[in-house]
């Protein structure tokens, strides 16, 4: 069994909203680990994602710290670098589709606005991470990845971005105050510019065949 910390805590990028991301690598099913607290992977699957050049493999490779190594061997470090990331365009398109589904749900008088906004945050963050990994040598795995793409950053005021992030925290960690109707209204008004930004990233990935 090998346990690693990754994400904000391993970057030192800590805030009151930070949670602690933990990875457990186990042999087969291990009931000791709650999947709400750990990302649980088998050794075989970790090797597969390394071989696929999966973004999560790159995240772990670049930003994880060992917490417990049952054999005192750093399993992830021994795997070396993952293969190059080859699916930037495919992944960017999938996160654009995820955004579109959530936006449609919101515009169809959704009764689950917080969940929809949370999904939009997930799609924004992940498309930016995949884009940065596929197109630059400085991949950004942080919650603010969309605001850190330099000239290609999402042009959204931080307080508006924060509304989506707040929804994500409510939906996943059950923490924070419910969104006000004003916040929902503000978020709704920003959807077209977010869609435009995501479409540009997809187009750029496709046209330049950079990924």
């Amino acid at each position: 069994m090998h346990i690693y910390a990754f994400g904000s805590i391993s970057r030192g990028d800590v805030s009151q909203d930070s949670d602690i991301d933990l990875l457990a690598i186990v042999k087969g099913y291990d009931a000791r680990f709650n999947p709400e607290d750990f990302s649980i992977y088998s050794y075989k699957r970790i090797e597969e994602i390394w071989d696929e050049g999966n973004p999560f493999a790159w995240h772990l490779s670049l930003q994880s710290k060992p917490i417990f190594l049952s054999d005192e061997i750093d399993f992830l470090k021994n795997l070396g670098k993952p293969k190059p990331y080859m699916h930037c365009l495919r992944d960017c398109e999938k996160f654009l589709n995820l955004f579109c589904d959530a936006r449609s749900s919101m515009l169809d008088n959704s009764v689950s606005l917080v969940f929809d906004l949370s999904t939009i945050f997930l799609s924004i963050r992940n498309i930016a991470t995949c884009f940065s990994l596929g197109t630059s040598n400085r991949p950004d795995f942080s919650r603010s990845s969309a605001l850190r793409l330099e000239a290609k950053s999402l042009q959204l005021p931080k307080d508006v971005y924060r509304i989506f992030e707040k929804a994500r925290i409510l939906s996943t960690r059950g923490r924070g105050e419910d969104l006000t109707s004003g916040e929902v209204e503000t978020a709704l008004k920003s959807l077209s510019s977010i869609h435009e930004w995501m479409t540009k990233l997809v187009t750029e990935a496709r046209n330049e065949r950079i990924c």
């Binding site: 990302s39 589709n97 589904d101 959530a102 689950s112 969940f115 999904t119 939906s171 960690r173 059950g174």
Partner: protein, 99 residues
Amino acid sequence: MSEFVNRMTVQRRVLQIVNRKKWEKEALFGLSGKAIERWLTINLIDPKNRLAILVKEISSKLFFLASKSQEQVSEDYRLLSEDVSNITERLEHEVNQIA
């Protein structure tokens, strides 16, 4: 990735069903254990309530699917997906009775 998208779609469907009822204080925001606990507490819902049990059951199946999908055990995934689908139907019936 498609399994990930499927899980998001299931979550949305479940939340649409549960939140069809206008809850006294807050809607259910997500299917994580912590979001469910918040919803139960703030709306004074008995955790032993049939609806609460069904929601928790779907949540645990979805999280289990998330870790199972990483194992790529497609048969297990298919069976569990059917389970989730059956529980969702029971949930819909339950909400229809109280909404």
